[in-house]
């Protein structure tokens, strides 16, 4: 049997190359982008942004708590988990004891000076509002988190953010209506007025060094400082109360010819695992 067999050809599967965008489309896209940039600079985009945040926030809170739980599971194998549970327990005890120690030293200092001058967190006119961390940007020299409290909750730029144990985690950097960005103490741009516990005066500045650490700098040589000293907030910043624990001194770098000494410190707040924090808010009179 001769002849050829002709089968119906399948439609070609070769992808069709779409035509390039016309010059008019490119111009419209460029003008649209430029207009959007101008609107953003003028502040007209802000209400839209806040509206989007309000819509997304409940879902993001849920996703964030799930992500944090998943992160805890990924972090450890079973043997290491048990060992780290013990370490966490010991760390919690250390943090609690450190906070108690600072309060004790502050009480002693109060008894030595005029009592009317001393203020504690409970008496100093500060309240707190709880917040959940919903997003993080924590890397080598960057450390910032987004929390689900903002201007509507009374949060202001510069306010202190602490953990449940009262350890300083950072300060509010930027603000939205329902969210805020907190710059952690280990961020390279972070600066906190600080002092050794019990001295009750400004002694230096805690600067972030990246990678979860910080340095206590611009400390005059006359100020006594040694390893394992507790560093606290000095209280000289308007929105940051005094005696919030920042961390422990690791070593002291001091040269007799230098007017200041520096001390690397280890922040006590678990900056890589922050989930729930509190924002310290001055009470309105």
């Amino acid at each position: 049997m001769t002849g050829s067999m002709i089968l119906p050809s399948r439609p070609s599967r070769r992808p069709v190359v779409p035509p390039p965008m016309s010059r008019r489309t490119w111009m419209i896209a460029a003008l649209g982008g430029f207009a959007l940039l101008l609107l953003a600079l003028a502040g007209f985009v802000r209400p839209v942004r806040e509206g989007l945040r309000a819509v997304l926030l409940p879902v993001v809170r849920l996703a964030s708590s799930g992500g944090a739980a998943l992160g805890r599971v990924l972090r450890l194998d079973p043997d290491a988990r048990e060992a780290n549970e013990r370490v966490t327990e010991v760390e919690a005890r250390l943090q609690s004891l450190t906070v108690d120690y600072v309060r004790l030293r502050a009480l002693e200092e109060e008894n030595r000076s005029l009592r009317a001058q001393a203020k504690f967190l409970g008496e100093s006119g500060f309240a707190s509002v709880g917040a959940r961390v919903i997003s993080r940007s924590v890397g080598f020299d960057t450390a910032a988190v987004t929390i689900d409290r903002g201007a509507k909750d009374g949060v202001e730029v510069g306010q202190a953010v602490v953990t449940d144990e009262g350890l300083l985690a950072g300060k509010v950097l930027t603000l939205g209506e329902r969210t805020a960005v907190v710059l952690l103490v280990s961020d390279a741009r972070s600066r906190v007025a600080a002092a050794p516990a019990g001295t009750n005066r400004l002694s230096g500045v805690v600067e972030g060094s990246g990678n979860g650490t910080a340095r206590f700098t611009l400390v005059p040589q006359a100020i006594p400082l040694k390893e394992n000293d507790v560093i606290v907030t000095a209280g000289t910043e308007e929105k940051v109360p005094a005696n919030l624990v920042i961390g422990l001194v690791n070593t002291v770098d001091s040269h007799p010819t230098d007017p200041f000494k520096t001390a690397p410190i280890e922040p006590l707040a678990p900056l890589d695992r922050l989930e729930l924090v509190s924002v310290i808010i001055p009470k309105k009179e």
Partner: protein, 170 residues
Amino acid sequence: MWSRRIIVALLGILVGIIDVAVSVWFPGPWAAVRSVLPFVIVLAVFSSRERAVTAAIAAGLVIDVLVPSFGLVTLRLTMVAFVIHALAQRFFSNRSLPGSFALGVAGILIDRALVFGVTTLAGAWTSRTFVTEVRVGWFAETVWMTAVMALSFFGVAALTRRFLPPVTRR
């Protein structure tokens, strides 16, 4: 079709939320398991430019609104979608596995270059403190992107007739 665009936009929002609120908690190299950039690149390579741009805008808006860093993510992802789609259609072949890998890596390179550019310009134009975007190491991100592109390639090949040659006998 508008229904497909809506689905793509919703998926873009979902992967944006995953990137912002879930992946950020992963420790060590697991932090490379991100969703948005691979999703946009997969759409740009294996689907259409419109869907990739729709996903880029939806996911980028979620990230720009919620993440603490300043990075103009929507603009960056849109540009990545355009460039990768153009490369896939006119330079590489989107019918080969190595081509898919190359497009994935190209997407990472373009995104990182844009991050660097945005960060440098923002630092030069404004004196206020802004938070820079944190990225994981090259190797982890490349491995993850390669895995995603391979899975997507085999998925498209298995589930569609896209890579079947036309058959005509005479």
